[in-house]
Every structure is written in structure tokens, then in C-alpha cells.
């Protein structure tokens, strides 16, 4: 995990390690919101977490917004609706 990029928080100007569990949790919620089945969700979450981890291996430091964009793009391949929900969940009431 140490080779993965650190996540920079622009507000606090601090860095933290990438949490795959936290990402998986958020992805899971977005998939549930659009009614995907358990099997599809499990597969999608695994794929997206792997895709994001691979991307982070090529970077030294990124922002949490970057991770969200990468994850949303990867999730959109499985479900465009889930990808949209995940990318915009902070903007939704």
C-alpha cells in the first residue's frame, strides 16, 4: 500500500493514505441507490477499487476529488446511473 499515492486534503492541507474500505463503502451506497443486485454490486466495487488502486500506483499525490472522478469513471462502465450518483452525491440533497 505504501506505493499508492497519498490523498491531499486541500482544506486542511494535510495528506492521508488511500482507504480502499472507505471507497468501497461509498461505491456500495451509490450502487444500492440505483437498485443494483448484490452480485453486481460486489463485482463493481471490486473492479472499481482495483482500477483506482492501479491508477494511484502511477501517482505520488492526488486530491480526494481526483479519486472520486477516477472511481466514478470506472463505475460508470458498469452502471452509468451509479457512476453519476457516486460522483455527485455531495451535491445531492
Amino acid at each position: 500500500m505504501s506505493d499508492l499515492a497519498l490523498i491531499y486534503d486541500k482544506t486542511t492541507q494535510t495528506t492521508s493514505s488511500f482507504s480502499s474500505d472507505s471507497l468501497a463503502h461509498s461505491l456500495n451506497n451509490a450502487c444500492l441507490a440505483v437498485g443494483l443486485s448484490d452480485g453486481v454490486i460486489q463485482d463493481a466495487v471490486t473492479r472499481v477499487c482495483h482500477s483506482v488502486s492501479q491508477w494511484l500506483l502511477q501517482k505520488d499525490e492526488v486530491t480526494s476529488d481526483d479519486v472520486r472522478r477516477q472511481a466514478a469513471a470506472a463505475l460508470s462502465v458498469v452502471s452509468a446511473e451509479a457512476g453519476y450518483i457516486y460522483e455527485n452525491e455531495n451535491a445531492m440533497i
Binding site: L6, Y8, K10, Q13, T15, Q58, K59, D60, E61, V62, T63, D65, D66, R69
Partner: protein, 458 residues
């Protein structure tokens, strides 16, 4: 994060290739504080694995072929051979002689701060490299282009080559399948065919080099097939690849049939994309799949961030990248801006015969609904083709209805030199009759330019 007005540098250049290094050196001569960031090898593509090594290899290969085919001139060459490791050594010598390859110290000596690592924007004025944060008043994105993973079934199971890796092979492959027929793809096809590989070149379009006029693609296809036994697979789509022994089995669709061929190596020369994965969203820089969006001054959607070279158009040749680097460096520090004029950039393919074009092509004129005249002078019409025993080529000139030159294409030995005469004539607003009335030395290849111009002047 930097406070307003307090930046570490006046300019941070991301990428040390043709565009980036040009801009960094210009800015530092103007007493600006400049940092140069590089993720790969300093100097970028052209000297390290692009133009320079390719042309060095092609020079050696062409010499070998000229000598090998010298029997018809009375030259005994039946015992001729080559040593590939020595050719690779020659290539490395050429690279080191440029002084531009892996030249981090050169920039340091010129007062440019250099950083090696993957750069990523954190905010519009702040970038991270190796987890160190740097700020600047202006940025130039000159990240160039890279080769994307082809979207072909089975690609994960094989080791494939790109123009970046192909010249690192320790030996010449017995057979090679080249996907795409761009200028660089045709150069590699000719290089490996001369060195003895069985070459297949696959192109989706109806002819090779579809970006050039139809006559070019048709002539090159005929030439490559008849003189080098290259299999030119036009209207071909690669469907899948599969690892088979030490090689690759390539399946492709051509016409209504699926076919397959076993080769040692497969080279993907058509997947060049602009390198834009550097957190551009954090810097509010707009981009598309084609590259970073810029205005005429090379400014991005963030006014203090400029972009040049392959980052805005993956197919940009080195000379365009250098021009844009110069213009960007000027515009960011001067109120009177300038715009790069890339309308007269010569496009050259260093094959034999060479292929060179400048100005408008016939397709460009059709797209613009321009009324034109055109003339083609085959090399057989000039005396040099007799003395050199070479006739596969032509000069084609295009004028408007008033006879003013708009564009030209040369397929001939030394086409890359001949084309500059045409470029200068277009730049000077000359007519075909002006060009035809100029003296051209007897037995020069350039006589074909006079003949083509003469046809238009009649």
C-alpha cells in the same frame, strides 16, 4: 498553498520535450525563475526514443539497402551483411551526440530548477511532484503524448511494442505486424523490412497514410509491396491477439473474411493520445479526448496556464511543438501576444523514397470548397531518375485558380529537402509560373518541382 503574489517560480514547465525545454530556456534567458518537471527521461521523446533514434536507424538501414542493391551499378555486394547490435550502438551514439537526451544537468547549468517525478495539479497555482508542492505564477503544460493500451481482445495476454519500445529489441524480429499506417508506422515498416523482417502493416482506411493525398498512399503501398515484400493490409481491423509460443497470433477482419497470422512481434503505432492525466480538473483546465483546449495564444481555460505540443494535439510533429513552446513562452510574459502559424509546417516521412508535404492537401481544398488546379510530375519525367535508376515518386503542386501556390507533395529521394523550396514559394505567395521560371539544376531531383510548376503555368 501559496499566498497571492508569492510564488516559488515565475514559470513551471511540465515536460522537458521539444515544447517544454524551448519555453524553459527562453523564460530563463528573460531572468524568470523557472522550474522544469519531467516524469520520464529529460529531453522528452524526440532525442530519447522518437525522431532522432529512428532516423539514425533508418540512415543505417538505407545505406545497407543501397549497397545491397548495388549490383545493377556494378557494385559487388553479395557478401554484404549487418550487425544489429552495432546498429543499436550507432543509434545510442547519435542520441548522446544530440546533447538533448537525458540532459537534466544542462538545464541546471542554465539556472533552471529541475524535478523528476509525476506532476499533479493540486490547485490552479500549485502542483505536486514527488509529494513536494511547488507554486508558480504561470504554467506550461508540455506533457506530450503517449501510447494508450489498444482496446483489442487478448491484449492483456501478450507483450506488445509501441514506437517507444520497439527500438529496444535486442534483435530484429523474423516477422512483425504493425497496426496503423501513420508516418512513423511506415518508417518502422520500411526499417524492419530492410533488416530482413517479414512485415505486415494493417490500416483501417482504404489506403496507407490516409492523412496524405491519395496518390501518396497508393504509390507507397505499391512500392512497399513490390520492393520490400511488405504485406499492406488496407481496410483491415485487428480483432484479437493471442500469445502463441514466443510470438503472437493476430486475428484480423479484412473484407468479409477473418484471417490470422503468426508473428514474432506486434507494434501498435496508431494509439497516440495526449497526456492529460495530471489533475487538470484541479487547475480548472478544460480538455477533451483529443487534448487540452487552448485559444490562439495557447492559453488554456485557466489564463495563467498555457499548453503546447502533443498535449494539445497528439500528432504534433517536433517542429510544431518547438514553435508552440516559443510562442507560449513569449505570450506569458509579454502584453503583445503572438500566435503560432502552423499552416506551413512541412510534414516529412523519412522513408526511401521520402514523403513530404506542405500547405494544403487536395483533401483540405475539397473540405474548404476551394477551386484549385493541380499538376503531378512523375519522377520518370526528369533525367535524375535515369542516372539513379529510381522512378517511384512524383511532385504534386496545387494552386488556386489564379495560379498562386497553395500546397505541394513530394515523393522522391531527399523529399524532406526538396519540400522546403515549395514551402518558401507558398510562404512568399509565389505563383506556379514564378516557380517554373526559376532555374533548377540539371540532374537534381528538384527538377521535378519545376516540371510540375511548368504544367500549372501553361
Amino acid at each position: 498553498m501559496a499566498q497571492s503574489g508569492q510564488f516559488d517560480y515565475d514559470l513551471i514547465v511540465i515536460g522537458s520535450g521539444a515544447a517544454g525545454s524551448t519555453a524553459a530556456l527562453i523564460a530563463t534567458k528573460q531572468k524568470k525563475r523557472v522550474a522544469l518537471l519531467e516524469a520520464g527521461t529529460f529531453g522528452g521523446e524526440s532525442p530519447n526514443w522518437g525522431d532522432v533514434p529512428t532516423k539514425a536507424m533508418l540512415h543505417a538501414a538505407n545505406l545497407y539497402e543501397e549497397a545491397r542493391l548495388g549490383n545493377r551499378f556494378g557494385i559487388r555486394s553479395s557478401m554484404l551483411g549487418y550487425n544489429y547490435p552495432s546498429i543499436l550502438q550507432w543509434k545510442d551514439k547519435v542520441i548522446s551526440r544530440t546533447g538533448a537526451a537525458d540532459n537534466r544537468q544542462y538545464y541546471e547549468k542554465n539556472g533552471i530548477a529541475t524535478f523528476h517525478g509525476v506532476a499533479h495539479f493540486m490547485s490552479p497555482h500549485e502542483i505536486s511532484i514527488s509529494r513536494k508542492h511547488l507554486t508558480a505564477r504561470n504554467f506550461l503544460i508540455a506533457t506530450g503524448s503517449h501510447f494508450a493500451t489498444p482496446d483489442i481482445y487478448g491484449i492483456d495476454s501478450i507483450t506488445y511494442q509501441t514506437p517507444k519500445t520497439i527500438l529496444s529489441l535486442p534483435k530484429v524480429p523474423h516477422s512483425i505486424f504493425i497496426v496503423g499506417s501513420s508516418s512513423e508506422a511506415v518508417e518502422y515498416a520500411q526499417l524492419f523490412a530492410i533488416l530482413g523482417s517479414k512485415v505486415y502493416i494493417a490500416e483501417r482506411s482504404m489506403r496507407l497514410m490516409p492523412e496524405e493525398d491519395a496518390e501518396v498512399g497508393e504509390l507507397i503501398e505499391k512500392h512497399l509491396h513490390s520492393t520490400k515484400d511488405i504485406s499492406c493490409l488496407t481496410q483491415t481491423q485487428v480483432a484479437s491477439v493471442e500469445k502463441r509460443g514466443l510470438g503472437v497470433r493476430v486475428s484480423y477482419a479484412r473484407g468479409n473474411a477473418m484471417r490470422s497470422v503468426q508473428v514474432d512481434e506486434i507494434l501498435f503505432a496508431n494509439n497516440r493520445v495526449a497526456s492529460t492525466d495530471l489533475g487538470l480538473e484541479n487547475a480548472l483546465v478544460n480538455y477533451t479526448a483529443a487534448g487540452i483546449t487552448v485559444n490562439d495564444n495557447l492559453q488554456t481555460s485557466s489564463q495563467h496556464i498555457y499548453a503546447a505540443g502533443g498535449a494539445i494535439d497528439a500528432s504534433s510533429p517536433t517542429q510544431v511543438a518547438m514553435l508552440q513552446g516559443r510562442v507560449a513562452a513569449h505570450n506569458m510574459f509579454h502584453k503583445a501576444t503572438s500566435q503560432p502559424d502552423s499552416s506551413l509546417i512541412p510534414r516529412i516521412t523519412f522513408t526511401n523514397p521520402g514523403i513530404a508535404s506542405v500547405g494544403l492537401s487536395e483533401n483540405d481544398c475539397i473540405k474548404r470548397d476551394l477551386a484549385i488546379n493541380q499538376a503531378v510530375a512523375p519522377l520518370t519525367m526528369i533525367a535524375r531518375s535515369n542516372t539513379s535508376d529510381f522512378s517511384n515518386g512524383f511532385v504534386k503542386l496545387i494552386t488556386d485558380k489564379k495560379g498562386i501556390l497553395l500546397g505541394g507533395t513530394v515523393v522522391a529521394p531527399h523529399a524532406g529537402e526538396i519540400i522546403h523550396e515549395v514551402a518558401l514559394a507558398i510562404h512568399a505567395g509565389m505563383s506556379a509560373s514564378d516557380l517554373a521560371s526559376m532555374q533548377h539544376a540539371f540532374l537534381s531531383w528538384s527538377e521535378a518541382v519545376r516540371v510540375a510548376a511548368g504544367k500549372l503555368a501553361q
